[in-house]
Amino acid sequence: MAKAKVKKDEPTAAEPASDVVMDEAPTSHQPEAADDGMSVDANENEDDIEEEEDEEEEEEEVQRVRLLPGSTPTAASFEFLNEGHTLGNALRYIIMKNPEVEFCAYAIPHPSENKMNVRIQTFEGTTAIEALQKGLRDLQELCDVVTDKFIDARERFVAASSS
């Protein structure tokens, strides 16, 4: 879809910044706020910009995890914003590996909205929130193991193929 803007003055080319305005965001594995900038329509965004500004004034992230109403300590539903099957399925798998968890499932209420719900029901030994936190920690450990093994395998392969 093409959007044409007729401008009288050519935008000044990228200038070197003597006083650099650095975003706090790192270049890789971006926080979700970056998505907003890319998908905003060129023309009709006057109102939206004001809303964005109010929420992200201090460049802090919007709260992306919410406890849904009707949750008890051992049976809770969480709502994640800007998450989908990528994290949902992986998180569900890891949380299900926890023997204290009786039930864990994730669902995406509507594909047009970027929301994901996770329901965790635990036995009496632990709370749902603890299970969720353990799941997130286990996921990070898993990523570390994958990275290490991948780098080792690559080195072995490169060494084997060059010799």
Binding site: E15, T27, D35, G37, E61, Q63, Y93, K97, Q133
Partner: protein, 374 residues
């Protein structure tokens, strides 16, 4: 009754997805706690470390193939999805057209330019360049382009008659000058510190210089400037660092009863070359009672040589002679990844970045959960 630990065959069976003529069985993962009484399948990082391994099959700069063995489909899929949609890449985002008298419409030309993949110095691309955010105040947009978030490119081509062409020449590339506009005609204009990171071999240039952008005739001209920004594939496919990233499960072929002689040759033809090999029956095998090889010493039998080359077309299930003799399946925890990069990232770097991205997401969410609880 005390629970017996599962036998090796039972473990194999649990890990295999059965592939039959018209159905697929045993698809879902079953290694959850309380699924098998008496067995503990809870998450144990040490057990995972022991069982998980990575094997490389190919590691060219822009095409890598490797196997992840011992992880679950949800994790492998998460990596695949992140590789396609969440790794930041640099691509043309805005096109400022000063003149376009070619037959290609402005918007079509802009669309084509956005899809051209570019390469550049690794450090500059991944560390120096930051994200560009549209400023809240629209009038300040021209002040938001800095050397660390925007890359400037230019394309200026004018087509003219070529006086030196031979009379009667029909080839437009010889009759006219600059009749074809290729990606190599795009000039990179470094600004500020960009020349430090993007110079020499690291210059920002199209991965494929021979991409045809437009065709011109004398008198037609294309003159435009482009801004490149960082983006992710979930926003627009031009930002995806991979042509595609895919995985398949490792095929399993089990020959239950012997397949000999002409049948063995036909069996080998049911699979891609190299999957099935023919070996002569040894004396020792022929002497084994009940093996089915009695009296067939010296004949060629079918042997599974390299199941990884198999495309699981199930051709062998269509023939009567092999009924009951072969079982097809796939290993549920063995993922053969194929990562084809478009040229900006290297394939193995893309996978590592995907894993790091998942870790960072989990980390950020952990903080958010603590916030939520507070």
């Amino acid at each position: 009754m005390p629970h017996k630990p599962p036998t090796k065959e039972e473990l194999e069976r649990r890990k295999t997805v059965g592939i039959h003529e018209e159905t697929v069985t045993n698809v879902s993962a079953n290694d959850f706690p309380m699924n098998y009484p008496g067995e503990d399948h809870s998450w144990d990082i040490e057990a995972f470390k022991r069982n998980f391994r990575v094997e490389f099959h190919q590691n060219d700069p822009f095409e890598a193939s490797f196997s992840l063995v011992g992880c679950d489909a949800s994790i492998a899929n998460a990596f695949r999805r992140i590789m396609i949609a969440d790794i930041p890449t640099l691509a043309v985002e805005t096109v400022f057209i000063n003149n376009n008298t070619s037959v290609i419409q402005d918007e079509v030309l802009a669309h084509r330019l956005g899809l051209i993949p570019f390469k550049g110095g690794r450090e500059g691309l991944h560390k120096f360049l930051k994200w560009w955010r549209r400023p809240a105040d629209e009038s300040q947009i021209n002040n938001s382009y800095y050397d660390f978030n925007t890359v400037l490119l230019r394309l200026d081509v004018r087509c003219e008659h070529n006086e030196d062409a031979a009379p009667g020449e029909t080839d437009p590339t010889k009759l006219y000058k600059h009749a074809h506009v290729y990606a190599r005609d795009i000039e990179f204009c470094p600004v500020g510190r960009q020349s430090r990171y993007f110079s020499g071999d690291d210059v920002i240039a199209p991965v494929h210089p021979d991409i045809l952008i437009a065709k011109l005739r004398p008198g037609q001209e294309i003159s435009l400037t482009m801004h490149m920004h960082k983006g992710v594939g979930s926003d627009h496919a031009k930002f995806s660092p991979v042509a595609t990233a895919s995985y398949r499960l490792m095929p399993v072929i089990q020959i239950e009863r012997p397949i000999l002689g002409a049948d063995a040759e036909k069996f080998a033809r049911c699979f891609p070359r190299g999957v099935i090999g023919l070996e002569p029956v040894t004396k020792e095998e022929a002497s084994r009672k009940g093996s089915g090889y009695e009296g067939h010493e010296g004949e060629l039998k079918a042997v599974v040589v390299d199941p990884m080359r198999d495309t699981v077309s199930r051709e062998c299930l269509r023939h009567e002679e092999f009924k009951g003799k072969v079982k097809l399946g796939r290993r549920r925890d063995h993922f053969i990844f194929l990562v084809e990069s478009t040229g900006q990232w290297e394939s193995d770097a893309i996978f590592l970045e995907a894993v790091a991205h998942l870790k960072k997401r989990a980390q950020d969410l952990e903080k958010q959960v603590i916030n939520m609880v507070r």
